[in-house]
Symmetry: C2
């Protein structure tokens, strides 16, 4: 084949692949979910399994999920996982409390040899950020910062449509910026005063315990249940008009705002997108006011905070979209 | 002229300009300095004048400085100034306490009409960061973050050799990330607990006052001089072995480290460069240890903190280099 014909064939091949779906997999601490994705949208029913214990069992689970989608023609498999990930080699290079023993896993290599498909592995918050920054209205922006508020806090920084990964794949580890300085609250990472220790679900529960100390049952029914507090019980009490619960939720908004204020002064993004399980409990008007109040005027003027457009699907979509975009060389 | 000849002539014109020096001007609160720059180096004696009072007088002073270099053929003039600057229009869009009434100045337009030369206006910390990231060994890096420690704290973020400016020209306003959350210390910006309120020269003096409260003359001679403390008197006492002064300087290092820790988790840079008047008093070994101690392992592993390679010339060099690079379309 002549060079010109070869280039032409490559173009056709690439074009074909760009119309093929990729499988997106979101690997979390409690469950693994998968669905086929095309054009930044899920196009099949999703499948899920509980996250097995241990590295080998997790990999078996991932392969099992891929096999459920074998009836579709797939461009490849994208896996969003907790932990810091080398995006070139697909190795998990930073550990996470939610998946013990996961660090060191050569996930891309193992999965490619087991499935014979191109595999891309990405940090889950990065994958979510990549998907969120591709929705209508955000694609052309200079800087979109997606913050995942869940059990922990993650971040995904997308600059001019490309994920920013930093020098050692750890950019966007925003849960571990420090918002206090006196070793007041221990984070699960072993360091003190991380944003995650205040703004995550665990942080909210700790804030509730702190504020409920010395408070009587008569002031709030939450006072007698401090050992069994959940984020949902706090938000439910707040919605029911419990003044103490409302105070706790407001303090949590303040904590969330502190991290966003810091990110705003570093990156001055066009837009923050808030996703993750706790994002549905955010009062966006209140949060935006709190952030603007603590920003320099020029920084505050351009603050926009949006709720996720993709909800819990962002990780699946972003992971799959990475595979498609890598085939098209869009993310280089 | 045919189109092909026109393109050729443009190339020759661009090539000629790339070998011409540009004038770099650093406009500070107390003095204005200028020198001609080529290939990221100062190539003439620098000239300086005291910063005049008021917008019109400052502009007259800038024009006067440009005229002192009229004997050189100049590609253009780059001006590094305090404040947030619209890099396209050259308007000062964010004010600064050091140059009252400066916000709103259409500096590029005014200076181009007064000098008939291409003018680029840039935030001073951005200009310094741009120059520092161009020195040998850093040019090819993904992310270089330059932090200017002086009366205030500024930042310049260079990604793949290009300055990152954010959505509203305010990226890198790192002096105003919050490192505490209880309205403990007022910053000159009017907000509380900014990094600048702790890590800048003013912050160091405030830390000294706080730590010297209730301390007797016998413990340290600084105790009787709290109303006339300067950064230099504190560093001098520390160098002389004054234990209290050493404690103050160590606390200041901690404060500086807090901001770097936050930046490290957001940007995961290849390298931090510390510049500004206070950078010469930094114990880089101590600072690096403090930063690594408060970082996730994957983030801490790649921490490198360097002293400025260009010293007080970085602003002049960066501002001038912008003009040259814009002519060569290197910074688009």
């Amino acid at each position: 084949m002549s060079r010109a014909k070869g280039v032409e064939a490559n173009k056709i091949d690439t074009l074909a692949k760009s119309h093929m779906p990729a499988l997106g997999i979101d690997l979390g601490g409690t469950k693994i979910r998968a669905a086929a994705v095309r054009d930044n949208q899920i196009i099949t029913e999703s499948q899920q399994i509980p996250t097995p214990d241990g590295r080998d069992n997790i990999i078996d689970g991932l392969v099992e999920l891929v096999n459920k989608f074998r009836t579709d023609v797939l461009a490849g498999v994208g896996i969003a996982t907790a932990g810091i990930v080398n995006g070139d080699t697909g190795e998990i290079i930073g550990s996470t409390g939610n998946l013990p023993g996961w660090s060191g896993t050569q996930l891309k290599t193992v999965m490619e040899s087991r499935t014979l498909l191109p595999v891309h592995v990405e940090n889950d918050a990065n994958a979510a950020g990549y998907a969120e920054a591709r929705v209508t209205g955000l694609r052309s922006k200079r800087c979109v910062v997606t913050v995942t508020l869940g059990t922990g806090i993650g971040g995904g920084i997308v600059l001019h449509g490309r994920l920013f990964r930093g020098s050692n794949w750890a950019a966007g580890e925003v849960g571990h910026i420090k918002i206090a300085m006196e070793n007041k609250r221990l984070c699960t990472c072993g360091l003190f005063d991380c944003w995650e220790a205040y703004g995550s679900g665990r942080g909210l529960i700790q804030t509730a315990k702190d504020l409920l100390e010395g408070v009587s049952d008569e002031q709030t029914p939450l006072a007698s249940r401090t050992t069994e507090l959940t984020t949902h019980s706090i938000f439910a009490a707040s919605a029911d008009g419990d003044l103490m619960a409302q105070k706790i939720v407001e303090r949590w908004h303040e904590h969330v705002s502190h991290g966003l204020v810091n990110l705003a002064h570093v990156l001055n993004p066009d837009c923050f997108v808030i996703t993750g399980g706790l994002s549905e409990f955010i009062d966006f008007r209140l949060l935006e006011d709190m952030v603007i109040d603590h920003c320099l005027p020029t920084v505050g003027d351009s603050i926009e905070i949006r709720q996720s457009a993709l909800g819990g699907q962002a990780g699946i979509i972003g992971a799959a979209q990475f595979v498609i975009d890598e085939l098209l060389h869009l993310n280089k």
